[in-house]
């Protein structure tokens, strides 16, 4: 009896397995897309992937967040289909791609502002980019030198491989090195918490991480807002990119992904994640 039952069970399982395989084969192989790169663009890519996979269940999109530099590298090495980057490709990366026989194509999908933030109790409400550079280079060490209270400045930066650091470094520091006493944190939320809990702190976060617990400074008299960032008037603003190997074939999953920012849903996702869309719905 027992053996009969077992045989029947095996039979049923077998039929089910064959059936599943047949159904899967009939559907064709899942369309896989690998996205890798910036930790800043990551949340947008995650939400894009989720929305697209809901629309087309056969689509399988994996999003990794390893940093803009790593994204470019794995795109060049063919390890991913789309590189998310919070900066444009460097000359070296472009050359490496051309040497591998393809031309990287940039798709600007949104704008991001790197906001200089201080503790909400700080009376200083604005700095020039020269003053910010002076603070991070160690020439200005007390808030009274820039019109604030007599208190030491606690400057905090991001790890040197983050895209936010690269933007800040490129647009504010202009090649000058940061002073040794500048502390380092590893992520936007950590920077936010660090500034929110330290009275004399100055730091910088993406526009999406601004809230009432930190105070955003005007830079050269321009306050960071969706408008000033989208138009590029705010001095520390930057476009966010998707890079592909050549222009993706029309209608391919990569093409759908790279043009999703143009749809109304994509626009809403970008806005919800705290970035500034390039479209105007």
């Amino acid at each position: 009896m027992r053996i009969r039952t077992l045989e029947r069970l095996v039979g049923v399982v077998g039929v089910l397995a064959v059936g599943t395989v047949a159904v899967v084969l009939a559907q064709g192989p899942a369309k896989a897309l690998l996205v890798d790169g910036s930790t800043t663009v990551g949340p947008i890519a995650d939400a894009f992937a989720e929305a697209l996979m809901r629309k087309d269940p056969s689509l399988s999109i994996t999003v990794k967040k390893t940093g803009s530099g790593d994204g470019a590298k794995s795109l060049v090495d063919g390890l991913c289909d789309i590189a998310t980057m919070s900066r444009f490709m460097k000359d070296k990366e472009y050359q490496a791609a051309v040497a591998k026989g393809f031309l990287p194509v940039a798709h600007a999908i949104a704008m991001d502002g790197v906001c200089v933030v201080v503790h909400p109790t700080n009376p200083v409400s604005g700095l020039t980019s020269d003053q910010i550079r002076g603070i991070y280079a160690g020439r200005i060490t007390n808030w009274k030198e820039v019109g604030g209270a007599d208190a030491p400045i606690v400057a905090t930066t991001r790890d040197t491989s983050s895209g936010t650091y690269e933007t800040f470094e490129g647009l504010i520091m202009k090649g000058e090195k940061m002073a040794a006493h500048v502390g380092t944190v590893g992520s936007n939320p950590e920077m936010h918490d660090s500034v929110a809990t330290t009275a004399g702190a100055i730091g910088y976060v993406g526009l999406g991480f601004l809230d009432e617990k930190v105070k955003a400074l005007t830079v050269n008299g321009i306050a960071p807002s969706k408008k000033t960032v989208a138009s590029g008037v705010y001095p520390v603003s930057r476009p966010l990119f998707l890079f592909t190997r050549g222009y993706p074939e029309l209608g391919s999953p990569a093409h759908t992904f790279c043009t999703f920012y143009l749809t109304e849903e994509g626009h809403e996702i970008i806005e919800a994640k705290g970035f500034v869309p390039l479209t105007n719905y």
Binding site: T66, V154, T160, H181, G183, G186, T197, T198
Partner: protein, 336 residues
């Protein structure tokens, strides 16, 4: 059959032939040899792992000394790199052509947090151990010791969150210092993490001294304090030093807490006693920068050099501990 086994000792199974056939003999020999080999390999695997880790880290660290344009001879270039690494405090690993790899401030940062941790943890740990071994009743010791050891089971990231969200604002508020992420914060948490090791090992050493020495001391008219300070602690000194070194290794190798609590600024505090300044220890630097550095770059190899410095340091400490514990065992002390 069963009866015979019951009534006579094991040696009496006389029905077994005394001489083995050559085949049986060989099988037994080979089997024994194979068994030994397998056991040896299992035992050697951890040694192999240590050797492989050393080999891997050295292999990844060496290119650091040879990368970049050499000014003058190759030897000169290697020397320049060594001098820069241990003589300069300028750590700018990602500045392309202008990169600098001065790790002096980073090595010093590790020492700062470790020494601060020890200054707190050693008195605390030793007093706890003495209290547990010589003062409180055995029943209370049986409760307190496991609880202290439980401190070691808390994940270090939990300590890190505590450092950032609780201790850091407290330090800012009560000491009036600009930042709460500093040597003091990291040192205090490392001390809490090192205490279980110090208590556990030194309490074992103190208990191992034995009742006879203590009673001989009392018989000579010594008070309890004299007995503990002049007799028990000197007798257990090897174990106590080993406990301190083990606690030190715990502190110097800890990563998550110092990454979150030390502030990560690559500077040597000035003035030197100002524990309210941020430092950037070796472990935190490696953890923060290794994740996103380009494989094969000078920065990547420089991080392995930092790892090698750390490894050599803990390895040396470990050897000293082993030597001390070994001496303690030879002197007749027992350690659990």
């Amino acid at each position: 059959m069963a009866n015979r086994v019951n009534t006579e000792p094991a040696a009496a199974s006389l029905d077994r032939p005394l001489l083995l056939t050559p085949g049986e003999d060989l099988a037994g020999y080979v089997g024994g040899l194979a068994g030994r080999l397998v056991l040896f390999l299992v035992a050697a695997s951890s040694i192999l792992a240590v050797l492989l880790i050393f080999a891997f880290i050295i292999r990844e660290a060496i290119p650091f000394f040879f990368q970049g344009e050499a000014e003058g001879s190759a030897l000169r270039h290697v020397l320049d790199r060594v001098v820069e690494l241990f003589g300069s405090t300028k750590w700018y690993p990602e500045a392309d052509e202008a990169s600098e790899f001065g790790a002096l401030a980073i090595v010093v940062g590790s020492l700062y947090v470790t020494v601060t941790a020890l200054v707190v943890a050693v008195p605390l740990g030793l007093l706890t151990a003495v209290c547990l071994s010589d003062m409180v009743p055995f029943g209370i010791r049986q409760i307190i010791k496991p609880v202290v050891e439980l401190l070691a089971a808390i994940p270090s990231v939990a300590y890190g969150f505590f450092a950032v969200l609780v201790l850091s604002p407290l330090i800012q508020e009560y000491l009036g210092v600009p930042t709460g992420k500093n040597i003091l914060n990291a040192g205090l948490l490392l001390a809490i993490m090192a205490v279980p090791t110090i208590v556990s090992v030194s309490e074992d050493a103190l208990t191992a001294v034995g009742r006879d020495l203590r009673e001989a001391s009392y018989a000579c008219g010594a008070t309890r304090a004299e007995t503990i300070l002049r007799v028990v602690m000197p007798a257990a000194h090897n174990g106590i030093i080993a406990a301190i070194i083990l606690g030190m290794m715990r502190a110097i190798g800890e990563t998550m807490v110092v990454w979150m609590a030390a502030g990560m600024a690559a500077q040597i505090p000035s003035p030197w006693w100002d524990l309210a300044q941020s430092v950037r220890p070796l472990t935190g630097t490696i953890a923060q920068e290794m994740g996103e550095t380009v494989v094969g770059s000078t920065h990547y190899h420089a991080l392995f050099v930092l790892g090698l410095v750390l490894l050599v340091f803990t390895f040396a400490l470990n050897l000293v501990t082993e030597a001390l514990l070994g001496r303690m065992r030879r002197q007749g002390g027992r350690i659990a």
